[in-house]
């Protein structure tokens, strides 16, 4: 008694496994595969799609092992932690900082030259306070100090043309001390944020 012979089809299959060709499809099989692929899977319903999007809303999206897309920082995280006194001071004298920033530089670095009103949008002073500062016998900038308060990598942003850009956020605190002829001093703090966008290289 001998074992039955294996059928030809199974023998071909075993041989294909042995010589590593089992995973190669014939042109006929590929053509049939393509004909099946014409039928697209049904889209998931809008409500289910929204539920899935909700699941991943706080999860970073890794483009590859070097680039990870982060979610937008919450406003809570970006808000500077300051005392009530400083908040009031900032809200009332926010315009002072812009003037003081430029005025301070001008006063300290170029004492002989007359001060010129800045033209850039970033530093546009409050008109009335500018007059107040430069009127002569009122407050004038005595010192200026800038401190790097926080840095944040916001991840990689994709704009057009498939060019990724890394977004970096720098937060500074500018501190200006103003004094008048009577020796009274006012210290003003102004938070400032810079967003730097750098082209990101892709390997």
């Amino acid at each position: 008694m001998n074992p039955c012979r294996l059928d030809e089809e199974f023998m071909v299959r075993l041989a294909a496994c042995a010589d590593g060709t089992a995973t190669e499809l014939t042109s006929e099989e590929l053509a049939f595969e393509e004909s099946l692929r014409v039928n697209n899977p049904s889209a998931v319903t809008a409500s289910f799609s929204a539920a899935l999007a909700e699941l991943v809303c706080d999860t970073p999206f890794s483009v590859d092992d070097k680039i990870v897309l982060f979610h937008k920082s919450s406003s809570q995280n970006l808000r500077p932690r300051v005392s009530a006194f400083r908040r009031v001071l900032r809200s009332n004298l926010a315009a002072v900082a812009a003037v003081a920033l430029l005025g301070g530089f001008a006063a300290l670095m170029l004492p002989e030259q007359s001060l010129e009103r800045p033209t850039s949008a970033q530093s546009t002073p409050n008109e009335s306070f500018s007059d107040f500062i430069h009127s002569g016998d009122q407050f004038s900038p005595a010192s200026f100090n800038r401190k790097l308060d926080d840095t944040r990598d916001e991840g990689v942003m994709w704009q057009g043309e498939n060019q990724p850009h890394r977004v970096l956020r720098f937060k500074y605190i500018d501190r200006v001390t103003l004094t008048n002829e009577k020796g009274e001093a006012v210290e003003v703090e102004q938070p400032r944020e810079e967003i730097v966008i750098i082209p990101e290289r892709l390997d």
């Binding site: 539920a51 899935l52 809303c57």
Partner: protein, 192 residues
């Protein structure tokens, strides 16, 4: 300035995730449909699989990049579907609710597996019927290969079989599917 505004309005991760889900969720859902009994079960299974994936990503436990997400999800969907099926079997045995299967079939008619483009409606429904008629071990490989665009190695990994076995099942499955579709078409012709 517009670039800055863009980053502040839409998080890059949110839009990237949305795009990824739009592209891959239908394929993964088709596989989940194949692995489960009902449309709702498939939704639960896919949702749980994505919960597991994002949990691992958030905790830094996920090994590999984005290219590893789909293989992980296919494997997880299958495992979750098996678990769900076992639970469901136990529940049905307890309740001895024989009409559930009929109700499931009626509900499924409202949730086709494939979307039709105009006159291809008949082909779509024939394909769905033919896939459902195949043994699951064939249909799952076909769905992963044709619509999931996975390699035999990835399919083998997800199903815990060798890539040669995956390829064999795929061939047998394609043959059986072709026969089913031909039979369906012949019957369709006869009925006209």
């Amino acid at each position: 300035m517009s670039a800055i505004e863009a980053t502040q309005q839409t998080s890059p991760a949110t839009s990237a995730w949305r795009k990824w889900l739009d592209e891959h969720a239908p394929k993964l859902f088709l596989f989940a449909r194949n692995q489960t009994r009902t449309h709702e079960d498939a939704q639960d299974v896919l949702q749980d699989a994505i919960v597991k994936l994002v949990g691992k990503i958030r905790e830094g436990e996920f090994v590999g990049g984005q290219e590893a997400w789909q293989p992980y999800l296919y494997t997880t969907i299958r495992r979750l579907a098996i678990d769900l099926s076992r639970k469901e079997d136990r529940r049905r045995r307890r309740e001895d609710h024989v009409s559930v299967g009929i109700e499931d079939d009626q509900t499924e008619a409202f949730h086709p597996w494939f979307h039709s483009d105009g006159g291809a409606e008949e082909n779509r429904s024939q394909l769905e019927v033919a896939l459902k008629a195949l043994p699951e071990k064939f249909s799952e490989v076909i769905i992963m290969k044709v619509w999931g665009e996975r390699t035999f190695a990835e399919i083998g990994e997800a199903l815990d079989i060798s890539q040669n076995t995956a390829a064999s099942r795929y061939r047998y499955g394609l043959e059986a599917l072709k026969r089913e579709l031909n039979t369906a078409r012949r019957l369709g012709d006869l009925s006209i």
